[in-house]
């Protein structure tokens, strides 16, 4: 964990007041949509309200000490991370493996949420495959990639995914076959030494907003 914050010049009172005002505007603007989305994900309005509150308060506190460049992006990122945590807590999604954290770890306190990291050895072993697979899945068309993530990590059935993407259930099954074949081919090609490993894609994007 780096110590970027100590190099950040302290924000003036006016700057803080200004960005808090901007936060209010952004929270208010997206509140209804956010709660609707959270309710849909979590299946109950109470949990959705709790998570939205949690996100607002975290950002509110954060903004008293840190510069917020893009309040909307920060809100969505925080809400997304809190939702993933809630999924994990509820064991709603299929895999219990933790994020590929070492590369993406950063100093955004909003993201330092508890997680059950694997041992460093296990993480390193798995990382090679994960890099290959991430590169492979990012080459796939948007809908196929989304279908795979919704199925594997959000725990949705093909029918549920079909509803969300507005396509037939059999299309989802075809998407999954394509995704699995792509991953299988990428993993197998590397094991035979025929593929070049490129750096972890979009590492900057994953590090979030500064």
């Amino acid at each position: 964990m780096s110590d970027n914050n100590k190099f950040t010049p302290a924000l003036s009172e006016t700057e803080i007041a200004k960005q808090l005002k901007e936060l209010e505007r952004v929270f208010q603007k997206h509140n209804k949509m956010l709660i609707g989305w959270l309710t849909n994900k979590l299946g109950e309005r109470d949990a959705a309200l709790d998570i939205a509150q949690d996100a607002y308060l975290r950002i509110w506190r954060y903004a008293h000490k840190n510069k917020v460049e893009n309040a909307q992006a920060l809100l969505f990122k925080t809400a997304a991370n809190l939702t993933v945590n809630e999924f994990k807590a509820r064991k709603r999604y299929v895999t219990r493996h933790t994020a590929f954290t070492t590369e993406t770890e950063n100093d955004n306190p909003l993201e330092n949420l508890p997680s059950d990291d694997p041992s460093p050895e296990r993480a390193t072993l798995a990382r090679d495959d994960v890099e290959i697979s991430i590169n492979a899945i990012e080459t796939l068309p948007e809908n196929i990639r989304r279908a795979f993530i919704m199925n594997r990590f959000e725990g949705l059935s093909y029918r549920e995914i079909a509803e969300k993407l507005g396509v037939s259930v059999s299309s989802i099954e075809k998407y999954m076959i394509t995704a699995l074949k792509t991953l299988r081919a990428a993993l197998s090609a590397t094991k035979q030494g025929t593929s070049t490993i490129v750096p972890f894609p979009d590492a900057k994007r994953r590090q979030g907003i500064r």
Partner: protein, 321 residues
């Protein structure tokens, strides 16, 4: 490795099937048989399982990114329909201070919730003059946006009389289908077992969860099952389908099991048939749903049944006498 050989093709298909969340028992047996057939099958299948798990270590990052992207997409969609009063409200709210604002007002903008209890009926006139009549045990949420009037159906039955406005369609969403109208009168019955849309006047577009859009005309009805599949379009009888508006239910040669299931929507203390054979007896008649006692005695007399009350239900069984 040759990914195009038959073992590979079949293994990919089986792997995708087993991730579907809907694999059946017989499919599981077939998968076991297929695996037992050859070591090539087993090797190929194991490789696809590995492929399916190969992103597990990135699951949180991928899921968080996916959620984040969904939120951005929703915000963009909302941007397109944003209302001027939202910014006025935001301005007013900005006058209020810090944490108080956080804890109270962010919960404020809510859709209009309409709900009825067992046996209750209610009518609500909406802001545009449209009206909704709710039958027993019904819950829906109305949200009016600039470009859309949305009714989210939780469950139950309602008759919508929608003011015509072609630029602002009225959309009813149930878990099985989306129903879109511009101005018309129609009935929606949405229960765990499916959704039935019956059109009284005008025309209605129904998009089943697993199917193409279907246009229903006045006098027609459509049944969408739990899988989101639509039945054939049929004619319906308003005299029976809409009897609930007078607090009645009417049946013409319906099996007793079905009739009781329908009647139970009105009662917190459900009626249960003691013998499954009774479920097929044909029922023709009219019932006043506000009076469960009379319904039970009418059924008892008509079919020589005996009613026994338990704390949670009323049991109807064949009379010994």
């Amino acid at each position: 490795m040759n990914v195009s050989n038959q073992h590979e093709q079949e293994a990919a298909a089986w792997a995708a099937r087993s991730l579907s969340g809907e694999i059946t028992k017989s499919e599981k047996v077939a998968l076991q048989n297929w695996l037992a057939q050859s070591p090539e099958n087993r090797t190929a299948y194991a490789a696809y399982e590995e492929a399916a798990h190969s992103l597990d270590y990135a699951s949180e990052t991928l899921l968080a990114d996916h959620f984040e992207a969904e939120l951005h997409a929703q915000a963009e969609r909302q941007e397109a329909v944003s209302t001027p009063w939202a910014s006025i409200a935001a301005g007013l709210v900005a006058l209020l201070a810090g944490v108080l604002l956080l804890t109270i007002t962010f919960r404020a903008p809510q859709p209009q919730l309409l709900a009825t209890a067992y046996g209750e009926r209610a009518e609500q006139i909406l802001s545009d003059g449209s009206s909704v009549q709710l039958n027993t045990k019904t819950k829906l949420e109305i949200t009016y946006r600039n470009k859309e009037r949305l009714a989210q159906f939780n469950s139950g039955e309602a008759l919508f009389d929608v003011e015509r406005n072609p630029t602002r369609p009225f959309v009813v969403k149930t878990r099985h289908a989306d129903i879109v109208v511009t101005g018309t009168v129609f009935n929606v019955l949405s229960l765990k077992t499916g959704t039935i849309v019956s059109v009284v006047s005008g025309a209605v577009d129904v998009t089943p969860a697993a199917g193409e859009r279907i246009t229903l005309m006045a006098g027609q009805k459509l049944n969408v099952d739990t899988q989101g599949r639509a039945s054939a379009v049929e004619a319906f009888n308003p005299n029976t389908a809409l009897a609930w508006r007078e607090g009645k239910t009417r049946y013409a040669k319906r099996p007793l099991g079905e009739v009781i299931e329908d009647l139970n929507r009105y009662f917190s203390q459900p009626i249960i048939l003691g013998d499954p054979k009774l479920a097929t007896l044909p029922v023709t008649g009219e019932f006043d749903v506000s009076d469960q006692e009379t319904i039970i005695s009418a059924l008892s007399v008509a079919f020589s049944l005996e009613a026994r009350e338990t704390p949670s239900a009323v049991l109807l069984s064949t009379s010994e006498r």
